[in-house]
């Protein structure tokens, strides 16, 4: 992946993460892209150093009987390329409203 140039799909995913959609499935939902695109892109973005991933706090997950989820966050580099990409892909600005920049507590 060349530095400073993002495909629209990658940019949309970074944008979604920056907007607070931190989990794979949330990103799928908000971007409307299929999982078969989103997940490989997440892996690539992570490898390129634009994203980092962490595991959700175990205690949080344990409140429900389910395993801890993995969430993604932008690195500084990620924020820079996203800022450049937003200039190119005007369409991105119309997508989702900003959300809280924290691991989203589950509320099921």
């Amino acid at each position: 992946m060349g530095k400073g140039f993002l495909t629209y799909a990658s940019a949309a995913i970074l944008h979604a993460v920056a907007s607070g959609y931190l989990y794979g499935f949330d990103i799928i939902d908000i971007t409307g892209m299929p999982g078969g695109t989103v997940y490989p892109a997440l892996r690539r973005l992570q490898e390129a150093g634009y994203l980092v991933s962490r595991w959700e706090k175990q205690s949080l997950a344990e409140t429900q009987p389910r395993p801890a989820r993995k969430y993604y966050d932008l690195t500084r580099e990620g924020q820079q390329v996203l800022a450049e990409a937003v200039k190119r892909y005007r369409l991105l600005e119309q997508t989702p409203p900003n959300k809280r920049r924290n691991p989203k507590p589950s509320h099921a």
Partner: protein, 908 residues
């Protein structure tokens, strides 16, 4: 856990099961993490939506749909495999192989030879047996034989007469279509360069049966094939069209001449299609038979000349078609009662066989199956050898493996590492094996068993050696074999090595005494492998020995004439009369370098021109008897060097109008005139068509030696020679005795032929020496290849024995040193070392003899004049193997004898 519970669990929450399943293809290092993430997401989503049991189908489907995305994710992670353990194993294995280059080289070369030879032979089997016929729905194609298996010859009578063929074609219920075909050579005339063409005479249904369409124009119509033929049509092969007509499409509608009869070209067949013999240049309808050949060919029910193929109706089985045949036979018999001396009752029922099976001579097929078995043995020996080498190396690596184990490597992990190495070896061997196979195939093509088509009439031969190549089936065979080989020779040493005792190996020095103890255990395993190698080698050697001996006996057969310096060629012309050949002979005799010249209806080893029924004047006791009939010019016997036994041969005075005379061979004299002199007796061979002469009987004037016309290994039957100057069959084969090369004599003869008649081509040019080699080619083919494989096996076995002995001597250096220091002399040491070797070799030979005895029985049908259990051959081969085995021990034994006790003990 029962399968049922597993299934239940799988379907209880299919989205999670799918993730577990897909996890398998995720690189191992990332797997746990990957599964965790996906499961967490799915379960979270599930929890969000309420529990699975309460989900409506839309949500269930959504979850399932999401889980399938994991497949693409898993795929995208595949490049990460490079960091996987397997790749590490391969890298490490590669380093280990490079560290012991000699051992790796020996292993790779022997594996490449073994795998390559297997691939080459398999590719022939593939083309011969496995690959389907190149026609649409080939499984529906059958060959219909005119009668049942002839128990005396083991062959099916394949030829039909035209009227009998018509009954089959018109009365059957099983076949969608039935077609007849027969290939004959005719001259392309009416041009400046006459050419002998192979023309397949076929019924109009022939092309629909095969499912072949013309690539230009059309094939024959039913009208064109309805006798009597008025407007004769012809089809060209693609090759002939390109060669003689420059690929010009306007050739359609043009007239060409075969033997001076005009034919209208109506189509060109697709490239590659050359008829059932694989050699046809053109096609004419069967209705043309009486025009091109002779009257009565289409009406005489007892003139058998055409073969028959058919296409089964959809849904009709072979057995159903066969079940209909007795009825057909009945109808044929009612319409055309068989003459009394021919096939009896049941033997007349036509036999239906798949065309696929009929396309290859069973003898050829069998030779290749034997060869495949032999190369499999060679590969087994190569495997045993490689296993033995790996075991030897495992001893050297004992410490490394012990250290690995000490650091916590599981046994399975160690075995996997060692197996990866052996599969890597086999993989490299397999890759090189493809190259070996390509080279081997080129050799096989040069060296293919060739034969005169006259011997093969009962088998259609669509099979063409040049179609043999390395297709996907062969390549997958090759690599499958390599994988299997790697497992085969790798598993045993790997499991052995994984038992390494940590404390033992680490405590001892690299070549300590206890390591020697472990070494002995490995030595036993290696000894076992050597015994296996010797056993298998002896089987191969015995087979090769038998074939070589068989070949020698075949070549030593007295052919009844002297082939050296004899050249035969055909100057065929149906229109040409006896005078033409007399003039030609007169001209050819004058050519410089020609010692003698003659014509004959055929020549020795070229097959019979005709075998017919015969009567003897005044004898009713002989019943139905047949005799080979040869029409020859007076100098025939002199030119071929056939000795006269009694009476005289023909002279220039034996002409039309004079008393008709005949010369018979010794076999005829023995068979029909036992205890009396045949000279002066009169016989009447039925020659078809009968010639325009009042005197049908010929008087025997001489007896000559038996001459081989067909296969040399077959007993010579009775033959009669008639003088070509008298009314008889046509004699169009030119036979010269000359000291000149083909390149010098052929143009000279050709210009004489063209000077006499510019429509007569000169074809089928060959030397008798060439032909004599050709008729034994099948035996030679098998003999040479088996010898090659046996030699390879012998070499591998020798390497194996050498390796084991060399290892054993070096492991026992200290022991030998002590013995020498205590006063053992070189003789004692030699006895000690060679004693082991002799025990190994003797065990191998004993097992080998026991195995070879039944194994070589498969060669039975391929052998001539030798029993498969010929004790002399087996004995000689056992001695050869033993000798080479001992030779392989010589170097290690010499090293042992020269052991310097001081050096050996200082080593400690």
């Amino acid at each position: 856990m029962s399968l049922l519970t597993r299934c239940k669990q799988f379907f209880a929450r299919p989205h999670l099961s799918l993730i577990a399943l897909l996890g398998v293809i995720v690189p191992r290092r990332l797997r746990a993490d990957w599964r965790h993430e996906w499961e967490a997401e799915l379960q979270y989503r599930e929890a969000l939506l309420a529990r699975w049991d309460h989900l409506d189908w839309r949500n269930r489907l959504d979850l399932l749909w999401r889980s399938t995305s994991a497949f693409w994710d898993a795929l995208s992670l595949q490049p990460r495999r490079l960091e996987d353990e397997m790749v590490q194993d391969i890298r490490f294995g590669w380093r280990m192989l490079r560290r012991s280059p000699v051992m790796s080289l020996v292993a790779v070369i022997s594996l490449a030879a073994g795998i390559g030879a297997n691939t080459a032979i398999f590719s022939v089997i593939n083309a011969l047996i496995l690959r389907p016929l190149p026609y649409p729905a080939p499984e529906q194609l059958v060959k219909v034989f005119q009668g049942q298996l002839d128990p005396t010859k083991g062959t099916l009578p394949s030829l039909w007469s035209y009227p009998r063929f018509e009954v089959l074609r018109d009365q059957n219920q099983s076949f969608a279509a039935v077609a007849g075909f027969k290939q004959n050579p005719y001259n392309l005339t009416g041009t400046d360069a006459p050419e002998r063409l192979q023309i397949e005479m076929v019924s109009a249904s022939y092309f629909p049966v095969l499912g072949i369409q013309a690539s230009v124009g059309r094939t024959f119509t039913a009208d064109e094939d309805r006798p009597p033929a008025t407007n004769l049509t012809a089809l060209l092969s693609y090759g002939l069209w390109q060669r003689r007509f420059g690929g010009d499409p306007t050739v359609i509608g043009k007239t060409i001449e075969f033997d001076k009869h005009p034919f209208t070209v109506v189509g060109v067949l697709p490239p590659g299609f050359r008829g059932q013999d694989g050699t046809a240049d053109g096609w004419v309808p069967m209705a043309a038979a009486e025009t091109l050949d002779y009257k009565g060919k289409l009406t005489n029910p007892n003139n058998y000349w055409s073969q028959v193929i058919a296409r089964l109706k959809p849904g009709v089985t072979l057995a159903q078609a066969q079940a209909e045949m007795p009825g057909i036979s009945e109808q044929i018999e009612q319409k055309f009662p068989s003459p009394k001396q021919t096939l009896p009752g049941n033997a007349r029922i036509p036999a239906v066989a798949p065309l696929q099976a009929a396309k290859v001579d069973p003898a050829i097929r069998k030779s290749f199956l034997i060869l495949l078995a032999s190369v499999a043995l060679v590969l087994l020996i190569a495997c045993a050898n490689t296993a033995s080498l790996l075991l030897a190396r495992a001893v050297a690596r004992q410490r490394e493996i012990a250290v690995r184990a000490a650091l916590g490597a599981a046994r399975s992990r160690v075995i996997r590492q060692l197996l990866t190495e052996s599969i890597l070896l086999a993989g490299i061997g397999g890759g090189l094996g493809v190259l070996v196979a390509r080279g081997g195939l080129a050799l096989l093509k040069d060296f293919k068993p060739s034969d005169n088509a006259a011997f093969w009439t009962s088998y259609t031969r669509t099979f063409d050696f040049f179609n043999i190549n390395l297709d996907w089936r062969v390549l997958s065979f090759n690599f499958g074999l390599a994988l299997l080989t790697g497992l085969l020779f790798g598993l045993f040493p790997a499991i052995q090595s994984s038992f390494a005792s940590v404390s033992q190996a680490l405590k001892e020095g690299a070549v300590g005494s206890a390591a020697g103890f472990r070494g002995l255990q490995k030595l036993n395993a290696r000894s076992f492998l050597v015994v296996v190698e010797i056993t298998l080698s002896l089987v191969l050697l015995a087979g090769a020995g038998l074939m070589l001996k068989s070949l020698a006996r075949l070549q030593a057969i007295n052919l009844g004439f002297s082939p050296a310096g004899v050249v035969t060629m055909a100057a065929p012309s149906r229109a040409a009369r006896t005078e033409f050949y007399e003039q030609l002979l007169a001209r050819v005799r004058e050519l410089p370098g020609v010692e003698s010249a003659a014509v004959g209806s055929t020549a020795p080893l070229l097959g019979y021109a005709s075998i017919t029924a015969m009567d003897i004047e005044g004898r009713s006791d002989i019943g139905f008897s047949t005799i080979g009939v040869h029409s020859v010019s007076p100098d025939y016997f002199k030119t071929l060097g056939i000795s006269l036994r009694i009476g005289r041969v023909f002279t220039e005075r034996d002409r039309a109008g004079a008393q008709r005379v005949a010369v018979i061979n010794q076999a005829a004299a023995d068979k029909y005139f036992a205890g009396e002199s045949p000279i002066g007796k009169r016989i009447k061979p039925f020659i078809d068509p009968e010639y325009d002469t009042a005197e049908k009987f010929v008087e025997i004037v001489g007896i000559v030696d038996d001459v081989k016309y067909a296969r040399p290994e077959e007993a010579t039957g009775p033959d009669v020679y008639l003088c070509s100057l008298q009314p008889t069959d046509q004699a169009q084969t030119l036979i010269l005795r000359t000291n000149l090369d083909l390149s010098a004599i052929v143009p000279a003869v050709r210009s004489q032929v063209l000077a006499l008649d510019h429509n007569v081509p000169l074809t089928a040019i060959r030397t008798m020496t060439e032909r004599a080699a050709e008729v034994t080619s099948r035996t030679r083919f098998l003999a040479v290849l088996l010898t090659l494989f046996a030699a390879l096996a012998l070499l591998l076995a020798a390497i194996g024995i050498y390796g084991v002995m060399a290892y054993s001597v070096s492991a026992r250096t200290r022991e030998l040193g002590i013995r020498i220091a205590l006063g053992a002399n070189t003789g004692d040491v030699r006895r000690l070392v060679l004693g082991d070797a002799i025990a190994l070799i003797a065990t191998g030979l004993a097992l080998g003899l026991v195995t070879a005895w039944p194994s070589v029985q498969v060669l039975q049908s391929q052998l001539y004049d030798i029993s498969p259990t010929d004790p002399l051959t087996l004995g000689v081969m056992a001695i050869l193997l033993a000798g080479l085995g001992l030779l392989a021990c010589y170097l290690p034994a010499r090293k042992a004898m020269r052991t310097d006790p001081l050096a050996a003990l200082r080593n400690e």
